[in-house]
Amino acid sequence: MTTTRRVPAHAVVATRRHAGSRTALAWHVAGLMPWGPLLAGCLTGISVTIALRIFAGPIETPVQVGAGARASFVPVIAGLAFLLHDPHRQLTGALPARAWLTPAIRVALALPVLALSGVIQLQVAARALAADLHAASQSAAGLPWVALTAELAAWCALALALAAGLERTRWRELTGVVAAVGTLAAAGALALLPLHMLPAAIIAMTKSQMHYWTMAWRLWIATGAAAALVAGWAAGDPWRRVRLPAGR
């Protein structure tokens, strides 16, 4: 004999109301999203790659195209670093939703923009590389898409982790600036480690150079995953540590 457990009517209403409140929250969050910095960052990044394409020529080397593509990620990261800052945090915190939900919705809304920007940047950089190689009468070669995408993703995750962490502190008003600069510093510091996390060669790679690229994107994926975990944890914990001066 089977029994069907009936869901109480009030519970169904509560669930519907919950789903409805999430949709309302999503619209609310979308309206309060810092689209300006994000779009400004993405457009600046795309402009950098377009400059690479415009000035493509016989003396622009593939290494410079790789460096230029990485440089074009920097404005995107800078724009993304402002994503989690919520000037209406006190109000948002009073909403009947978990603390991580608002940042998660923001990230979910930003992801398509980031993905589109990344695809455009890499496409334009690939065309710049093709033009350079053509001008230098060299055979065509492609960009290391996977590795560069992994780098961009990891840098984004680092920026979000730093921003989420700083949002919990008394310096939350400066979250974006500190996260943007901090991410660049952290990525630079990781690149300085003897792990070859920013390989330069793009074409005519030797076996060891290909090995470096493989190692690099794996390391960046690992770094990005760790940063994403930190970001998730920090976004779910709204507590801000306020250190009072001694004697108070």
Binding site: A40, P58, Q64, V177
Partner: protein
């Protein structure tokens, strides 16, 4: 003033004294005091801002990185080129760009602080105009400027202790400090017009990406024509300045300081504009600043004049017209004016050789500095295109190139020099490489003293290889004094000149093989100074010189003094010299033919 405070005023809820309204720029005594106090406070805050300090740290690192002796563009046989102030001062100022980036972001954040902290209304209630607060932010830039000045002074002291040649140009450092000032003013402008923190970061990123391309102007993918690069806040002409002898230095153009000053004035007016009530004076000031900026930009963008280029070419091809000469202990040293401090160092090696010559046979030697670096490259020559590395061909560049090629082949090229000439150039050793520098100059001096040629023979090296490939051109070949006693004497003289030359001789490279006529001979090459071809001695001659070094110097000198002119004859053999000194004649190893599949060197000749 924010919209909220305007609304509050309109409702009469928030009264502001009309005489001290935010737009009133007339400074009362109180306003002046507040301006100074606010400026001092902002300067202290900016001075300890982590972004400013990090920018200064990056600048310090870049200064160190760009001015280390091993990183100089030209070095020969491990011999470095001393630093030149006419390149180092530009490098120091250009490296302040990193600090300027930090200052721009920090001052932008400072200018946007009131809005960020929601303090607009409180500040609007103060009895001082808004222009005073903006003025405080502008004055605050003094903090980072002072820190940058300290960094510059430390860099100057460091480079001076490294023996940098020439005199630093203080106006170039001034331009570097103006760059910091401009960055701070731009930050305040951005903060006045666009408070979002990303504005400052994006401004730095965009300016940085543009500037990096110009600062690294040798390896960058874009080469701007003529002086266009100087229209940007800062530029550095690659390592062109390190190739100049320091007589005529066309970069940076002095009007660049005027351009920076004009831009700063423009930024100051723009930042004060929203808070100003009487804008007529500001508008006049802005027009004047635009005029200065455009005028200086127009002057900067023009190429280096043809007359200046002609003078720069003559500095190489007619060195005597531009050099100073001084007589030191019987030797005439002729040098480009900036290299005067190197003369006492050259004299140590030269005197060390001359001290071992018989007094009667000592004619006056002229040690002349010549310039063997060709600086007729971009940006001095206009690049043929934005993305091309080559410069447009120039008459002066060709003339200088031909002259420099003749330096190592034509012994009477520069009038008023010794025959054979003893040349030196911009290379000189410091620290561990001092001995190598001394040895090279001592070799050239010893060749002059023993009558060995310091120049070579220019021959065609046209050749077709077995695989059908071919090469063509000319090469300058040194002669080889096979079996001649004077080669060992020259090596002994040079090696015994100073403790450093003795050490350099013992560490000299091992024997190689050179084709002389139809036979292959094992030889040891001792490079000479400047464009000299150096001394190519046989392995036997070098071994005998090493044996001579083991004998007391007095013993060798006595033996040589007795029949000096006889020993210098090309017909006097190493065997005779060894016998006179009571030494066993070293064995001459057999030469091994060196066949390189992709290069060909014509055979040398025996020195006459």
């Amino acid at each position: 003033m924010s919209r909220e405070s305007v609304a509050l005023q309109a409702r009469g809820l928030f009264s502001v004294n009309r005489s001290v309204r935010p737009g009133n720029v007339t400074l009362t005594g109180t306003s002046t005091r507040v301006l100074l106090l606010a400026g001092r406070r902002e300067a202290l805050w900016l001075g300890r801002n982590p972004l400013v300090l990090a920018g200064l740290a990056v600048s310090a690192w870049l200064i160190w990185l760009n001015n280390r002796i091993p990183d100089r563009p030209y070095s020969e046989y491990g011999l470095g080129q001393p630093g030149f102030w006419w390149a180092a001062d530009v490098s120091i100022a250009a490296c302040l760009l990193a600090a300027a980036g930090g200052v721009l972001i920090a001052s932008h954040l400072a200018a946007g602080r009131a809005k960020r902290d929601a303090m607009d209304q409180l500040y609007a209630s103060y009895p001082t105009p808004a222009a005073v607060r903006t003025g405080g932010h502008l004055l605050g830039v003094i903090g980072p400027v002072v820190l940058a000045a300290v960094l510059t002074a430390a860099a100057v002291a460091w480079l001076d202790s490294q023996g940098t040649v020439g005199v630093p140009r203080w106006w170039v450092f001034g331009a570097g400090l103006l760059l910091i000032c401009l960055a701070g003013s731009l930050g305040v402008v951005l903060g006045s017009w666009r408070q979002h923190p990303l504005a400052g970061i994006l401004a730095v990123l965009v300016l940085g990406l543009i500037e990096i391309d110009l600062v690294l102007s040798w390896a960058n993918p874009i080469h701007l024509p003529d002086g266009t690069a100087w229209l940007f806040p800062w530029s550095a002409p690659g390592f062109l300045l390190n190739l100049l002898p320091g007589v005529t230095v066309p970069y940076p153009p002095p009007v660049h300081v005027a351009e920076l000053a004009g831009l700063i004035a423009l930024a100051v007016v723009a930042s004060l504009w929203p808070a100003l009530a009487r804008r007529r004076v500001a508008a006049v000031l802005a027009v004047a600043a635009v005029a200065v900026t455009c005028w200086s930009g127009w002057l900067e963008a023009k190429p280096v004049p043809a007359t200046v280029l002609a003078t720069m070419a003559r500095e190489v091809t007619q060195p005597a017209d531009f050099q100073h000469c001084q007589l030191t202990r019987g030797v005439r040293y002729c040098y480009y004016p900036a290299f005067g401090p190197l003369v006492p160092q050259w004299a140590v090696a030269v005197d060390g050789v001359l001290a071992r010559l018989p007094r009667a046979s000592r004619p006056v030697l002229t040690v002349r500095q010549v310039w063997d670096l060709n600086y007729f490259i971009p940006p001095l020559l206009s690049p043929t295109g934005l993305t091309s590395i080559g410069g447009a061909p120039s008459r002066q560049g060709t003339a200088v190139g031909n002259f420099q090629q003749s330096l190592s082949a034509d012994p009477s090229l520069v009038a008023g020099s010794s025959i054979p000439p003893v040349y030196t150039d911009s290379n000189w050793g410091t620290g561990n490489s001092l001995g190598i520098g001394q040895f090279e100059l001592a070799i050239s001096t010893a060749e002059w003293a023993t009558g060995l040629p310091t120049t070579g023979r220019e021959v065609s090296d046209d050749h077709t290889f077995a695989n059908g490939a071919s090469q063509s051109g000319t090469v300058v070949l040194a002669c080889v004094p096979i079996g001649q006693a004077r080669q060992s004497i020259a090596l002994w003289l040079a090696a015994s000149a100073t403790p450093g030359t003795r050490s350099a001789f013992t560490q000299a490279s091992g024997p190689s093989s050179i084709q002389v006529g139809k036979q292959w001979v094992a030889t040891v090459t001792a490079p000479g100074s400047g464009p000299s071809v150096g001394l190519v001695a046989t392995a036997q001659g070098a071994a005998l010189a090493a044996e001579m070094l083991r004998l007391p110097a007095r013993t060798v000198q006595t033996a040589l003094d007795a029949r000096w002119h006889y020993w210098l004859s090309p017909h006097t053999t190493t065997a005779e010299l060894a016998a006179a000194l009571g030494l066993k004649v070293p064995r001459q190893p057999a030469g091994r033919p060196v066949q390189q599949p992709d290069s060909y060197t014509p055979p040398s000749q025996v020195c006459r």
